[in-house]
Symmetry: C2
Subunit: 440 residues, 2 copies
């Protein structure tokens, strides 16, 4: 029993669980506000669901095994293949655009990196069946509104946005050929994390001229759409993408999230399958890894053998987000402390305590009491240590007149306080307390 | 992509997810009312955590495998070993009694039985650190109050209760020896499901006399505690257990659940580790398997190599419960239909729609709109098919005076109706609608 959880797996004691549940609640609240509906799939899927897709970086990290029936299976490393499978199975029956979200626990197996987690929870939000940039704006607004709901501001979190079609058009204009594009995307993806010389060398090895490389670097230096248009607007393919992005920004403004967003052409997203606008959310101080990443993947569903529908989505994990919230002091949440502790007066017995507790519970309150007879002072200590808000003493008066004594265990801010105020004005019968509980 | 989920695993489309989420919500609401706090562990655990425990029926059904690092692991088949591990790791720091609950997804691998599920969700509620029957009563009250919260009554569900110590004392009185007890418990466990002759034969093979076997059968025929006392009350060990059970019943009455409960000595629970009061919840018509089972397992934590604390708990799965709720017409739940559908008037554009939608979402409402320009009649159809409650038309008056037109999409009962009534009295500006949303 000395043994703990497997390496890379978390135990969620009530305090940690409360933080996980808080994150899940905000995720759900905001997703529902945007009229997304929740779905889920199995945590275990056929291995084939993942190997079929390109993107070897994921396959190498799979938590896969052969089951007792000889089937090759994997603990799900991401949700999109499951989503593609489920949508394909009911493609005709589903209302379009599909607006779905899910909160799967995802798994990966990496041999080398000790200390890294092998599981996390990830919000997945996807829109399937809409090719216009309204959908791109709606999707990013969900991700940003979640940040806002956690109490974060544009000073804490930045959304960095790019468009792979724009980047491709710009690179073509700079003379990068089609066959060089995937490798150049890979270099751009790492451009912030490695010394410029390394990127230059890699570009040169690909046959990209040093002049083109310089131009490429200048694209990554926080250019505005206006500056891009001034330099490259005479190329129709580029002008078209710029116009698209401008509409996208307009919609982001209408959706109230524009101030969080900045153009950043170095955002290409590691995965091979994105086709259009892509984005990542980062903490503004650059202390953490990306909080969220997503974008448009119009060809993916079809390439997975599913339906041919345009699609876009993002994933947001609980780990980096949790670290950021803790760092900003935004993750203190109650673990479910009882509203009431019901105590027996020195001469009282447990039966009256149980009767009173039952009435309060029926009214919807959370109630605890000592499961064996104890002195009043021991019961007070227990109530304090449980974090209960109110302490109700049940004595002889309870059976006769329904009277109890109510004390505040400790100061509670917010909603609780109004109940205290009102309790002071009211007669102290259990019935009057119950009426207040139902009312609050 | 023709391929679906693995055999025995469920896809949760929004409708099915809503039912799963409804069950989870009631589980959480009631557990919290009883001041239990939620925890969770990893879905994957070291195999050893399960093989260490007796009870071969579980080990044979494990979903176990060797991971890429050569570790023997298993998808968790039950929560108790994880609970024992987590409590043992922080035994001194935890407030006693520990009142914890969890909603794990559990897994099993059975080769033969095709069509049976290999995963389910199971509410686990446990009290650790209290040996008195108050805790037994509190635990059963949680399980029964969950039934009540789902809209079920004592006519729908019965709690069948036994006490393994009482049964042991009675069997001893009937001449069953210590070494025969485990096998006799096993026969009693199956007594309802097999012909009497088979049970008699098995008892006889164990060396139990036919007279003792007859007495044993009479114990299973719905005896009351009073009848038991009249027949066996002169044996102190039996009288003591009867007195304990009477106190248990008194507490169940105080907790408001006595009318759901009946004594049934044939309930022994399949698992070897129960030590005291045990119970199962069944649908009253006998159509389904057990809804819930649990009891006291005072020696288990210690035998798992953990702490020596008395403990009790129950598990309630989502599958049988879901079948019962569907059969009783109690599982129709909304999937998250939007409160408002915001539409552009024929001459309106999406920008005003987005502005209006954003304001409503900020107020907490769930809002959808067509992501591309459509005729008003197409938007109406989309709102209907989305199940939206209200249809808001945004036209030229919106930009000028904030005025919109509000229509009810379809009749909604309950909370929605009061909003309709109030909307009819109010000026139709977005601001007034938002004020109402914040208020409701």
């Amino acid at each position: 029993m000395a043994q703990g959880a497997l390496p890379g797996f978390r135990d969620f004691y009530p305090t940690e669980f409360a933080q996980r549940a808080y994150i899940a609640r905000i995720w759900r609240d905001v997703a529902r506000r945007y009229a997304f509906v929740e779905y889920d799939g199995p945590p275990l899927e056929p291995l084939e669901l993942y190997t079929r897709k390109s993107g070897d970086e994921i396959v190498a990290q799979l938590y896969n095994f052969t089951d007792k029936g000889g089937r090759e299976v994997a603990l799900r490393p991401e949700m999109t293949p499951t989503l593609a499978r489920m949508v394909a199975a009911r493609a005709n029956a589903l209302r379009k655009p599909v607006r779905w979200f899910s909160l799967p626990q995802l798994f990966r197996y990496e041999r080398q990196q000790k200390g890294r987690l092998r599981e996390h929870f990830q919000l997945n939000v996807d829109i399937i069946g809409e090719s216009g940039v309204t959908a791109d704006a709606e999707l990013l607004a969900v991700a940003i509104d979640i940040m806002r709901e956690f109490g974060l501001s544009p000073d804490d979190v930045r959304a960095r946005v790019s468009d792979r079609r724009l980047l491709r058009a710009l690179l073509e204009r700079l003379g990068v050929g089609d066959e060089q594009l995937p490798a150049v995307f890979g270099i751009i993806d790492k451009i912030e994390r490695q010394p410029r010389e390394v990127s230059v060398e890699k570009l040169s090895a690909l046959g990209v001229s040093s002049e083109s490389a310089d131009s490429l670097f200048s694209l990554m230096d926080g250019l505005t759409l206006d500056a891009l248009r001034a330099r490259f607007g005479d190329t129709p393919a580029i002008a078209e993408r710029i116009a698209d992005l401008e509409r996208y920004y307009t919609y982001l403004a209408d959706l109230g999230v524009a101030e969080w967003v900045q153009l950043d052409l170095s955002i290409v997203r590691g995965l091979a399958y994105y086709t259009g606008i892509v984005f990542e959310l980062f903490d503004a101080r650059g202390e953490f890894r990306a909080i969220c990443g997503g974008g448009r993947y119009d060809n993916l569903l079809k390439s997975l053998g599913g339906v041919d529908l345009p699609a876009l989505g993002f994933g947001m994990g609980d780990v980096v987000l949790g670290e950021l919230l803790r760092a900003r002091g935004l993750s203190d949440v109650p673990i479910g402390e009882p509203d009431f502790w019901v105590a027996a007066a020195e001469d009282g017995d447990l039966r009256d305590v149980m009767l009173a507790a039952t009435q309060l519970r029926r009214a919807g309150a959370s109630v605890e009491y000592a499961l064996r007879p104890q002195t009043l002072s021991k019961q007070r200590k227990a109530a304090f240590s449980a974090g209960a808000t109110y302490f109700i003493t049940v004595g002889a008066d309870f059976a006769e007149r329904g009277s109890v004594q109510v004390d505040e265990v400790q100061h509670v801010e917010g909603a609780g306080a109004s109940l205290v105020d009102r309790l002071e004005e009211m007669p102290k019968t259990l019935a009057s307390i119950i009426a207040l509980v139902r009312d609050v």
